[in-house]
């Protein structure tokens, strides 16, 4: 779906160079979603060679988490995650160092949120005194899928997190983006626990495979959901004759000040 819509979005964004100096309400381009689907599939499938998910789940999950990290690292480094592709001016001004720092921050924030998530797993009944590696690696995977989109779009603003994830108020596109991935992944991950107590004796019922499987499934659902919510519906509503200003209102880009003030993302812990 996102692939198809990309060309439609293209002409709108290309001819907008005059707005480059200002904060321009950018259009999403869908690259992230395509890449996201590809990478999450890769993370699920590719490490299978030489590694056995059932025998050493922690190792396997470590590899898949690395793949996911690679995906986010590329997007963060290129500064094209969620809507920033046309913000070429701003991208040009960013130094190599600041890009590396952004990737690093993203990684650290994800690991920290994974810590919180693994505590939540334990609270929900994961083994306390054993299998720490499995639990944490599962949490890292889940947090890459669920929390990192929110980290990258919402930054370290608790108010924004609260608004994006916990309220019914009308949301901006980044908030929709974050909420879509977060809730889809989390709910499916939660439901994945259904398979843990069953007595079927299948190898994939071992902790934490159903959880992570659920999270991946939820992420893929989230991709669809986000694609529809952030691309299809706005485009469907868009009147192609309308003015740029109207478009700007439609996408409801937040003011740039809120974006630049993003530091210390470890505070996101509070939100699990």
């Amino acid at each position: 779906m996102p692939a198809k819509k990309t060309p439609a979005a293209e002409p709108l964004t290309v001819g907008s160079s005059e707005y480059d100096s200002k904060m321009y309400p950018v259009e999403p381009n869908g690259i992230e979603l395509m890449l996201g689907g590809m990478f999450s599939a890769m993370a699920l499938v590719s490490p299978r060679r030489g590694l056995n998910l059932y025998e050493s789940p922690a190792k396997y999950l470590c590899v898949s988490a690395t793949v996911l990290f690679g995906y986010y690292a590329i997007l963060t480094f290129a500064d094209i995650y969620c809507f920033k592709v046309t913000d070429s001016q701003r991208r040009r001004t960013r130094t190599l160092g600041s890009r590396f720092t952004a990737v690093l921050k993203m990684g650290l924030a994800t690991l920290a949120s994974a810590l919180v998530l693994s505590i939540v797993f334990v609270l929900f009944g994961a083994p306390i005194f054993s299998q720490h590696g499995e639990t944490y690696m599962a949490a890292v995977n889940v947090s890459f899928l669920a929390v990192t989109p929110a980290i990258l779009t919402l930054k370290a603003d608790i108010g924004a997190w609260r608004k994006a994830l916990l309220s019914l108020q009308p949301k901006t596109l980044p908030e929709k983006w974050a909420a879509g991935f977060f809730w889809c992944t989390m709910v499916t991950c939660w439901a994945g626990a259904y398979f843990v107590p069953m007595d079927w004796g299948r190898p994939w019922q071992r902790w934490p495979i159903p959880i992570v499987g659920g999270a991946f499934l939820g992420y893929l659902i989230g991709l669809m959901f986000v694609a529809i919510r952030c691309f299809v519906i706005p485009l469907g509503r868009a009147d192609f004759n309308e003015t740029e200003r109207q478009k700007r209102e439609m996408t409801r880009q937040p003011p740039p000040t809120a974006r630049s003030a993003d530091q210390g993302s470890s505070e996101t812990k509070k939100l699990k």
Partner: protein
């Protein structure tokens, strides 16, 4: 509601009393009056009921051998045809046992093949019970031991064990039985299920023989009291994937008994026998089995088959009964299903084994019978357990080396059976009888159905064969071996076995004699059963018809006997023979009617009662929810006022209706619902139904009124999102409730209920965390923000405490590999470790501290009652309990150590005796709680005190400037939370009592539960403050009650319980009790088991009363509405518990034919009944009816704050 459960249980839990009486060989089953008759010649002196036809018997059970596996059809060989689209090929399980067919045609007078109909459930254990006792399967065999699976009813294994084979005199046999020892030489090989059923009867005598010097005493007396030996070789039955081990174990050992022992002397060895031995050896699939010591030379010390007294030769020549049970076919069905080549291999193996057995017994000069049968069949997937035709139709095939089934006799049998069938057809009770009891023939449709063409044409014609119920084997087997019929047997003898004989001094027809004995035995059982309990449940018509049939048969028999007495050759005359046949048919019909009636009563669920019970439970559930909804606006008095008249009317009307409907249902034999049950159903259903009607009408009225008024009070934005929080939380709670109910759809969810409850509780709590987090920013004022943070902290603490609670567990046996029991500290311990007991001691400090901490916010902790009770009384009380458990664990550890070093007689000093001290401690603890705490609470529950200060306090405690002109201000301490604190005192008293009866780990968990409950109350109160601004429009009550109920379930598991009977902590019955007292000990066990539910139920009103100020205007203006709110909350709590139990009941009924129903679903349901009844009683009677009303009444009467202030200030001055 209780009525609902009662009805459901009556329909669902099939009960039957177990009578422990035993038949004895020396006493014939006739009643005394019959014995007094001069013609009862065989009675009195005889020691056998029926002269033995066979001296030896081999019982070969081929598990899951379905009727059509054994039958032969020539047509199947030609079936290999293609029918256009789909091919029909011979099934791999047909025509695989040719030996049976060939023997049937070669020796028709020595063989017989039957369809062997099993009574569901078709599981091996239940079937073996039926096949040995002759009883019908019911699941709660009242009076039987719950834990042990050993059969204590009379059965034919016991008969073999106790009854001496040769001449017996009435007096001697009873003495002999006391000395023990086997009378018949018994061999058992195969499925170890038998061992769990008959641990005593089937115990190997090898050790006794080896040690007992008396064994080889050669005296006449010793010979007369021959001590039989037994060889028992059980093999594990549980590994379904293993097709061969059990069969190999059986087949490798059978030749030890069937073939003469190998000798080194080549000349003696018969070549024919060595060839057979070779064949036997080839039958064993895993040749490694033959390396077992059993097959070593008899001189070897390791060989436990032979002893000095019973050598290899005796093993061959002296056995009397061999029981062999092979599981290969069954396991093959479970693993591959019947449509798999493996099954043909297994059947071929069995075929050859049968062939070899037949060869062996044909060689023997003793009359020997071989019974080959399946204990059940298998369905088209190879499984069994249910009541489908393919599962119940097994096969029975018998062979003997003597002729026992002559042609003339079979003609007579046909006539007997036809007569019996016509007698049964003419009875009014016919509809009671199943088809298989009414007709003695059956068409082998399983064979033909497999070869049905698309157009419905059958390639193989169904064959007519004889059909007998499985329990008929019991009387047949015992009588043909010359044994007595087990006391409880309900089966009839299979006529073929006795019809060829004539026995007794006047050469009576054997079948008549056998049937008469059988009928007399069944009648004796029935009379005894009816005598031993009033509530036997037999309808009087049925009893009357049994007696009539029996008496008429007896009368005809006496006529026959008279006829025979006058005419010595009567038995050859054809009219006498016809008369004999009609008498036999009468007995046979009587036996069938009894069996049919009892089968219906004991082996069939009464679906009408089940549905009726469920209806009432669901009605109650609906009523509770509606009650909650309607009580949000109306007072309780009003609702009761408008509904009681209608309810009463409805009850009377429905009771009358139900009685008449029940009458119709009974007359059509749809159900055997009794009048009492019908009345109870009608009353309950009518009462609740009519109340529902009234309440819902009222609710509709309310809604209309609300719609009209709702436009005016459209809320602020802020309150809108508060409402969003409330709705979301309630929705999450509803989802949790639904999931909890649906968990009972699966056996793995049901036995993992502890982790599921944790998952649900944590989800709900996490939702509360998020809600609290959201509310911290949502709210405008600082106070609200603080409340939001308070809720956040509370919910986080609850999250952690829940996880800790779930750490403590006793594992169910189904969970075991993946679960370590932690309740007693160490995985294998059954006594709490001392460390845990000491840890439990820390609760003595913690719990009062937490209570005081919560009271401190409203400064209620300064008052007299909390100071005295919580700080001192509670600590003493809990401290005593903690010391009690520490001593208990020390005693326990010492005792177990002493037992470990049991070799030396334990010195008296090491046997520490704290028991007296413990007794005192436990009693004092409860005594202080009730006599001190409770009495103080009753005297003055309020935690209010007045402090006179000069400094105005900034605390939340309400500050009342007094009317006095002094500069001093009087502060009423504990004003803000007056009702809540007062109620909390009661909760703490109840907690102390419950705490005493918990094991150390349970004590810790119960303390945590109390903390969690208080936290939960505080949390929701804060959340309400933070989001809803105290508006009563939307309510958090459903979410809160769900959370509390889930906490109760969680802590039920945490306090070391599971929903199984074995997990009940019986040892706690003796806390503070010296000797067994049924009621007291029972009450203590109940308090221990359901402690978490009692504590939570008591806490429910706290949810409403908490932080209710003494001067609350709302409360003082409308106290009735207040009680209504408490009742509403309670009804939601009760609704949750009823919902869960309704779900357990519904799924237990749904899975009533499930393999695990008696292990998992039924116990879960049985536990949910006391949970509901106890919680509701505590909730509505104690918590609301007594405590809340008392608190409110006192509060209102003394609630005039001014008066208190004036009084107190007067005192201060």
């Amino acid at each position: 509601m209780a009525v609902g459960f009662w009805l459901f249980s009556n329909g669902f839990l099939l009960t039957r009393m177990v009578l422990s009486d035993h038949s004895t060989a020396s006493v014939l089953p006739f009643s005394k009056s019959a014995l007094a008759k001069p013609d009862g010649s065989a009675a009195g002196a005889a020691c056998e009921w029926y002269p033995a036809k066979f001296e030896r018997a081999i019982v070969l059970v081929v598990d899951a051998m379905r009727a059509d596996f054994v039958t032969w059809s020539d047509e199947i060989g030609m079936v290999d045809s293609e029918d256009g689209q789909h091919k029909i090929r011979p099934k791999p399980y047909h025509n695989r046992m040719p030996v049976i067919n060939s023997l049937n045609t070669k020796f028709p007078e020595q063989t017989m093949l039957y369809r062997f109909r099993a009574d569901p459930p078709t599981t091996t254990l239940q079937r073996l019970k039926g096949l040995t006792t002759g009883q019908l399967p019911t699941f709660i065999d009242a009076g039987s031991n719950f834990a042990g699976s050993a059969i204590n009813e009379d059965n034919w294994l016991q008969a073999m064990r106790w009854q001496s084979l040769y001449a017996c005199n009435g007096t001697e046999s009873s003495k002999e039985s006391a000395t023990g020892g086997y009378k018949r030489n018994l061999v058992f090989l195969g499925d170890d299920t038998w061992i769990s059923l008959f641990p005593e009867e089937l115990s190997d005598t090898h050790a006794i023989e080896a040690n007992d010097t008396l064994w080889n005493e050669q005296s006449e007396i010793a010979r007369g009291k021959r001590r039989g030996w037994a060889r028992v070789r059980p093999f594990p039955s549980l590994n379904v994937w293993d097709l061969d081990t059990v069969d190999d174990g059986v087949l490798s050992r059978l030749p030890l008994f069937l073939l003469p022992p190998e000798t080194s002397d080549e000349r003696i060895n018969n070549p024919e026998i060595s060839a057979e031995r070779k064949l036997w050896h080839q039958l064993v699939k895993q040749q490694g089995m033959l390396a077992h010591p059993d097959f070593l030379s008899s001189s070897s010390a390791e060989n436990t088959m032979v002893t000095k007294n019973v050598g290899a030769e005796q093993l061959h020549s002296d056995w009397d009964v061999i029981i062999a049970h092979g599981l290969g076919v069954d396991h093959c069905g479970h693993r591959f299903g019947p449509d798999h080549p493996a099954i043909s291999q297994k059947l071929a193996q069995m075929n050859q084994a049968i062939e070899l057995i037949v060869q062996a017994i044909s060689r023997s000069d003793k009359p020997t019978a071989l019974y080959v049968f399946g204990d059940h069949g298998m369905d088209s997937k190879g499984d069994h357990g249910g009541d489908s035709p393919r599962e119940v139709d097994a096969a029975l095939w018998t062979y003997s080396n003597v002729k026992w089934n002559t042609h003339e006799a079979s003609g007579r049998i046909d006539r007997v059976l036809e007569t019996a069938e016509s007698i049964l057809g003419n009875l009014s009770l016919t509809d009671v009888l199943d088809g298989d009891l009414r007709s003695s023939w059956w068409l082998n449709t399983h064979l033909s159905d497999d070869y049905r063409m698309k157009d419905g044409k059958l390639l193989v014609e169904p064959v007519k064969m004889r059909s007998v119920p499985q329990i008929d084997l019991v009387s047949t087997l015992t009588m043909s071996l010359g044994l007595h019929i087990p006391f409880n047997n309900l089966g009839a003898v299979i006529p073929e076995f006795f019809a060829s004989d004539s026995s007794g001094p006047d050469s009576e027809w054997g079948l008549i004699r056998a049937l008469r004995l059988n009928a007399a035995q069944v009648m004796r059982y029935l009379e005894k059963y009816m005598d031993s309990s009033k509530s036997h449940g037999f309808s009087s018509e049925a009893v009357q018809s049994w007696r009539d049939m029996y008496n008429s048969a007896e009368t005809s028999y006496r006529e026959l006997a008279d006829l025979a007495a006058h005419n010595p050759n009567a038995h050859q005359q054809s009219h006498v023979m016809l008369f004999e046949e009609s008498v036999a048919a009468q007995y046979y019909a009587f036996l069938r009617v009894v069996l049919g009636t009892l089968r219906q009563m004991w082996a069939q669920f009464d679906s009408v009662l089940i549905i009726a019970g469920l209806c009432i439970i669901v009605e109650v559930l609906v009523a509770l929810v509606l009650l909650y909804l309607v009580l949000r606006h109306d007072s309780l008095d009003y609702i009761v006022g408008i509904s009681w008249k209608t309810g009463l009317g409805g009850a009377v009307a429905a009771a009358i209706a139900a009685r008449s409907v029940a009458h119709i249902a009974n007359s059509k034999a749809l159900s055997h619902i009794t009048q009492l049950e019908a009345t109870a159903f009608g009353t309950a259903a009518g009462l609740v139904g009519a109340s529902i009607l009234v309440i819902s009408l009222r609710l509709v009225q309310q809604c209309r009124g609300e719609e009209a008024g709702s436009v005016a009070k459209d809320s602020v934005d802020d309150q809108g999102s508060g409402r969003f929080i409330a709705y979301t939380l309630n929705a999450v709670a509803l989802v949790m409730a639904v999931i909890h109910c649906l968990a009972f759809t699966s056996n793995s969810f049901t036995f993992n209920e502890d982790s599921i409850v944790l998952y649900l509780v944590q989800t709900l709590t996490l939702a509360v965390v998020l809600a609290a987090f959201k509310s911290t920013r949502l709210s405008s004022s600082d106070q609200q923000k603080a409340a939001g943070y308070r809720a956040l902290v509370c919910s986080l603490v609850i999250l952690v405490l829940n996880r800790i609670a779930s750490y403590s567990t006793v594992c169910r046996e189904e969970q075991l590999p993946g679960c370590t029991p932690t309740f007693y500290g160490a995985p294998s311990a059954s006594i709490s470790s001392t460390a845990l007991a000491v840890l439990n001691g820390s609760m003595v400090w913690l719990v009062p501290y937490v209570i005081q901490h919560f009271l401190r916010r409203s400064r209620s902790d300064q008052a007299m009652l909390p100071k005295l009770w919580v700080n001192v009384g509670m600590r003493i009380c809990m401290g005593m309990a903690a010391v009690y458990w520490i001593l208990d664990s020390i005693d326990g550890t010492l005792a177990s150590e002493a037992a470990a070093s049991a070799s030396a007689p334990s010195s008296p000093s090491s046997k520490s005796d704290w028991s007296e001290l413990r007794l005192v401690l436990a009693r004092m603890s409860v005594g202080i709680a009730i006599g001190g705490g409770f009495a103080a609470w009753v005297a003055s529950p309020f935690c209010i005190d007045v402090a006179v200060t000069t400094v105005p306090s900034a605390n939340r405690a309400a500050k009342l400037p007094t009317t006095q002109t002094t500069k001093q201000a009087a502060i009423i301490l504990g004003f803000g939370n007056a009702y809540g604190a007062a109620y909390l005192m009661l909760v703490s008293v109840v907690f102390c009592v419950l705490y005493t009866f918990q094991q150390p780990m349970g004590g810790i968990m119960l303390s945590m539960l109390l903390v969690k409950l208080v936290l939960c109350v505080e949390m929701f109160d804060s959340l309400r403050d933070a989001t809803l601004n105290g508006s009563s429009e939307t309510s958090l009550v459903p979410a809160q009650m769900t959370l509390m109920a889930l906490l109760a379930y969680l802590d039920y598991f945490a306090t070391g319980h599971q929903f199984t009977l074995v997990s009940i902590q019986w040892s706690t019955a003796f806390v503070g009790v010296r000797e067994m007292q049924l009621i007291l000990c029972g009450a203590i066990v109940v308090l221990n088991t359901f402690g978490s539910f009692i504590l939570t139920s008591i806490c429910v009103p706290l949810a409403v009363l908490w932080n209710e100020s003494l001067g609350s205007q709302r409360l003082r203006l409308a106290p009735n509405a207040y009680i209504a709110r408490v009742t509403g909350a309670a009804s939601i709590f009760a609704a949750y518990i009823v919902l869960v139990s309704a779900s357990t009941a519904a799924f237990a009924a749904w899975f009533r034919r499930h393999l695990m129903v008696w292990k998992i679903f039924a116990p879960r349901f049985m536990f949910s009944v006391p949970v509901v009844l106890l919680s509701c009683t505590v909730l509505f009677a104690a918590a609301i009816g007594f405590a809340t009303i008392r608190v409110l009444r006192l509060g209102l009467s003394v609630g005039d704050a001014q008066a208190i202030v004036a009084q107190k200030i007067g005192q201060v001055r």
